[in-house]
Assembly symmetry: C2
Homo-oligomer: 122 residues x 2
């Protein structure tokens, strides 16, 4: 959790209203956020499904990532009173506005992975 007394925090607070990039990274700049968002958008809308398609994420990180994105208004949680418990997530309208960025990130990332791995194949 962040401390609200720190130059770091103050800096971000200020920059958030000044620099669009810092604002954007505030929402998607952590390791797992873009991937989780993308996967939810693709239909992996439950905790377990997300763990399956992102096998390296830990329970804690997935849970924290989801919670933060919920707080940020990017995703919505729906709890079904069933047994065993069913919980589903979906993008909010605000969250959907992030998709163009994610699309570009995804494409660039894939291209770059190809470059890197084909170099290694020499």
């Amino acid at each position: 959790m962040r401390k609200i007394t720190s130059t770091n925090f103050e800096n971000e607070k200020f920059l958030e209203y000044d620099c669009p990039f810092i604002t954007t990274l505030r929402f998607i700049g952590k390791r797992w956020k873009p991937a989780v968002l993308w996967k939810i958008n693709q239909g992996y809308i439950r905790f377990k499904l997300l763990k399956q398609v992102l096998p390296l994420i830990s329970d804690k990180m997935l849970s924290a990532t989801i919670r933060e994105m919920e707080t940020d208004g990017i995703i919505q949680k729906e709890v079904f009173d069933e047994v065993p418990l069913r919980v589903e997530y979906k993008l909010t309208e605000f969250g959907k506005e992030l998709l163009p960025i994610l699309k570009e990130m995804n494409e660039w990332g894939m291209k770059t992975i190809e470059k890197i791995t084909s170099h290694n194949k020499v």
Copy 2:
């Protein structure tokens, strides 16, 4: 500096060849990177100019940000043997490929800042 012996590092190393988003964040996921890149592209190609348009960045962070992006092959440095020393930076072709992402990030960020600040004006 990163330690090359850490789960964190290993995780990223692996994910870098697996998850496009993590790859992308590897290159632009730090606070000042997108802004510096964007500003260089806009013509603020010297240390001093960058400090002027990003007044809150410290010398250290600007220097570190530039150095990393150089190592990553995103920008190129040119040193002119003049007095006082002149150094200029420009995007490489690889770096230019990041511009579509930056463009989307910038637009989303600006829209979001507007939303946030107009709420506050109530």
